[in-house]
Symmetry: C2
Subunit: 551 residues, 2 copies
């Protein structure tokens, strides 16, 4: 065997990705190596009356710093920096400082407060000389976001955590208040533990909202006090449920990680499963062929024109709303099938000359008034506003899903909107058709929505200057016809980080410079036990730019 | 809360999927419930001198029978059958009987024998009256296949394993000798443990070949004695390697599960990584822009016209071939880039007036003669035969990958072929473009290849009667530009079971009747710890046919 002096993997300092994700609003870095002392302390002395969830967040951060052991993504995985690191100054302390008024609230309280009132800003300085790093914020939520950033700074070489880019100075705050992820737990069920792990992963990219599409026509896993029969007859099995205790466990866990969980009970469509406990309220139950009655099987919609059904729905929503601390609550409103109502004799009688849209208007007003009485702000899918012209309270937030182009129409109507468009953000597209006997069937929203596609999104396209304030933010979404616990993580990560950065850092990021950071994030997720997938051959991940189209 | 007498989930016996996969050649079932005795024994008394790997397979089967606990996929998950099951006769013993000549060989020995010599046939009877079930085969491999089938018969209700379809009589043997799975461990690396778990999953659907695309331009994880410098400089890191001991562990593990592992060292293309240890043998190393020199980065091909390189390659293949007990060994031969050779001054000199194809012919003959001397039968990708017209030994097997249509051209040339076509069997299609800065880039082989698409494959399309004997079988394939340990299982399962059934049971299966069995298989995989994904909402999985297009 001959030996060649091939210097494979010789790295330069500048080739490091410095994998902060999302990228901070303002960031300056130096070129001095700095290592983390093995007895690093994170001091809360500057946060008088630190809430317990902030104390816990500090503990978790210490855990990540100790366990991440993420090697730099360069061919030699950082070994050529070993000498420089061993000679570097050691950082012994990170000080947290609270700069707000009065006693700090808990992260949890701030995370679920009305969206306009949240403050997620922070500053972070990491000097090069080993003197204390300082994280300052006027909220616990801001301190939490800063801790998340601090946890992304460090690489590992043979057990030593280090950066080559001290001093570091960061001033950061989000471009948009709403940065979400939608999970459908009705097509297939996700155990509580899977949702909690997903919430951790969301928090690592500063996503602050779980839009929980908790029930649908296929199953009703939510146990609602006073309506337990629905889940008894509508969950996939006795264990595939979310009890009020489960919901509290999830919402508490989320809130402590800066995440607001708002639930959706989709109405009046997507409700077939209610038939098993309340048959009188469901039209066209499992009507065949389903293609004529619903966008997917099984067919079945609430009899929106029936006064009894209207009242039932309002009661159901009121009871469900009590389970969730979020200010938001979604009543859905997508994909209402007119033929279902046309073929339903009772609905035709109940309409009494009204159009379906007129009945939907009444149905929605009663539902939304009930939610308002429960302290909630309604969220709806776009058709409610721009197809059915339903009367909506001014503060109702509208989810734009059919096409990103539709945001303009929502904004023109003066409503706040959440970007959730299938042409950029649907994580389930591209998986092939799932209808059983359709050999050449394809995903309805083909092709696959890559991270690059989501990352290229412009939240203000076709939005006027005056309307900009209506854009709350956006999210990627996972509908679970072909997903479950087995592939939640591989579908979501690191792809869902794309919208997290678009809505935290603002649009216009360059996919070339983003990709090395995104690889970094994915490898860090794997170190933390979340199965993020490879976006490219590792050869590419170790050589930024070399797998670009024009490289 | 009102109580409705909704008989959700009332099942009939006929609604059970009876989830054997692949479907046996001959199967008769009854309608009598039968349960497995908790002290079921699997007797090898009828197999004098039973080999140790068969004894181990019996132990694993007992483990599956004990731990699967797969509930029937009906809305009530089988509870309406509980009374019938509790009153059923109990099966206390499965007898294995060897009907072959002389002492049985080991599963391992039979699994890696020349493909034409393998015997995988078995018969299995499970009487309804509790008398012994009997599994008979004239080979250990056949007994192993029968054990796999026996393990798929049973459902669980509250800790009792049962079938509702006794008596059962099965006579089974494969339609095709080759049923494979190709895994690329070069774009991204897979630890040995992941490969072993994958081999188990493969064996559960009677897949009998792992086509191990072990190295490529991006990395060279294979440690080859005498050529250790290649993996030292070409593996992603010091741990991302397969040592000879690892290879033995994998091939032994596979063989004991009826799987032959044949390796591929792709030549002369897909060899960029060799430059780091043998720069003299590589043309157009990492030439830029890569789009002009290779189908993906990094560029680099063996200098096929150089006598030194020809000899080097033959030596390398000889050394690699010694690591693998399989009779097959692939030298690749796909995607040779002519511009690379055109731009390489040394190659132009070495050609000395020959065409690249003429040089390739010499290169291949030397390589294949070396393999032949090592006791191997060569396997190549289709271009070698039908594009470059290389001289190939008559027994060379040809992998058809570019299009299923190309099988006919291979057969016309009188060569044995393995179906591996991108338009049916590529598991990586539909995942979006992975090139870094290509926002609207898409999978080159879009769309996603669904299980239905693979299942609809006809191995004999455009093949004449005389040529049928040339069709060895086929496989699904996973190229790992966007895959790694995080998503191997979710990409492969249960989808790769589609080709397993096409090539075991023969083509022409109906996707309608296959789907309930495939759900069954996927749920069983999950019970065994392999993360098969949901093909549909669970609502559909519990209601065969209800999610068909015309339901």
């Amino acid at each position: 065997m001959r030996v060649y002096k091939v210097l494979l993997g010789l790295s330069t300092l500048s080739s490091f990705a410095f994998g902060l994700w999302p990228r901070p609003k303002e960031l300056t870095t130096g070129t001095t190596p700095l290592r983390l002392s093995s007895d690093l302390s994170i001091s809360l002395a500057g946060v008088a009356g630190a809430p317990s969830d902030l104390v816990d967040a500090v503990k978790r951060t210490r855990g990540y710093l100790k366990n991440d052991k993420l090697q730099a993504l360069v061919p030699d995985r950082g070994s050529s920096s070993k000498t420089a690191v061993s000679r570097a100054k050691a950082l012994r302390r990170l000080q947290l400082k609270y700069s707000g008024q009065g006693k700090p609230k808990s992260i949890s309280e701030e995370a679920i407060a009305a969206i306009d009132t949240r403050d997620e800003a922070y500053t972070l300085t990491v000097p090069a000389d080993g003197s204390d790093a300082v994280l300052t914020a006027s909220s616990s939520l801001g301190l939490f976001r800063g801790l998340t950033t601090f946890g992304q700074i460090w690489y590992d070489i043979d057990g030593t955590s280090y950066t080559l880019q001290a001093p570091i100075s960061i001033k950061d705050s989000p471009a948009y208040k709403y940065r979400g992820f939608m999970l459908d737990t009705a097509r297939n069920y996700f155990p509580v533990a899977d949702i909690k792990r997903h919430l951790d992963a969301m928090s690592w990219t500063k996503i602050n909202t779980l839009h929980w599409h908790i029930v649908d026509s296929q199953s009703f896993p939510l146990v609602i006090p006073g309506f337990q029969g629905i889940s008894e007859r509508g969950a996939y099995n006795k264990k595939a449920i979310y009890t009020p205790a489960d919901v509290k466990e999830i919402t508490d866990y989320a809130a402590a990680r800066g995440i607001d969980v708002f639930a959706e009970i989709d109405t009046p469509g997507h409700t077939s499963i209610l038939h098993h406990s309340f048959p009188e309220h469901i039209a066209c139950f499992e009507a065949s062929p389903w293609t004529q009655f619903a966008n997917e099987p099984p067919a079945g919609q609430l009899r929106l024109a029936s006064p009894a059904t209207v009242n039932f729905t309002a009661s159901l929503l009121t009871a469900a709303a009590k389970l969730f601390p979020s200010k938001f609550f979604s009543t859905g409103g997508d994909e209402i099938n007119n033929n279902c109502y046309k073929q339903d004799a009772q609905t035709q009688t109940d309409l009494a000359g009204r159009t379906v849209d007129q009945a939907l208007d009444t149905f929605t007003q009663v539902s939304h008034n009930a939610l308002k009485a429960a302290g909630k702000t309604a969220v709806v899918w776009q058709e409610m506003l721009i197809v059915h012209n339903v009367t909506l309270a001014q503060d109702t937030a509208v989810l734009v899903w059919i096409s990103s182009q539709d945001a303009a129409a929502v904004a023109q109507r003066g409503h706040r909107l959440i970007h959730a468009a299938s042409d950029y953000f649907y994580l389930d597209c591209g998986g092939g058709g799932w209808v059983g006997n359709n050999i050449n069937g394809n995903s309805w929203c083909d092709p696959f929505k890559t991270w690059q596609k989501a990352y290229s999104f412009n939240p203000l396209a076709n939005i006027t200057k005056d309307q900009e304030k209506l854009v709350l933010g956006g999210q990627q979404l996972l509908w679970t016809e072909q997903a479950g616990p087995s592939n939640l993580e591989s579908i979501a990560w690191p792809r869902a980080a794309a919208s997290a950065e678009v809505f935290w850092s603002g649009p216009g990021g360059d996919v070339r410079t983003a990709l090395p950071r995104l690889h970094d994030l994915a490898y860090r997720y794997i170190q933390r036990g979340v199965k993020a997938i490879a976006l490219q051959p590792e050869w590419c991940a170790l050589r930024p730019g070399k797998c670009d189209l024009d490289a």
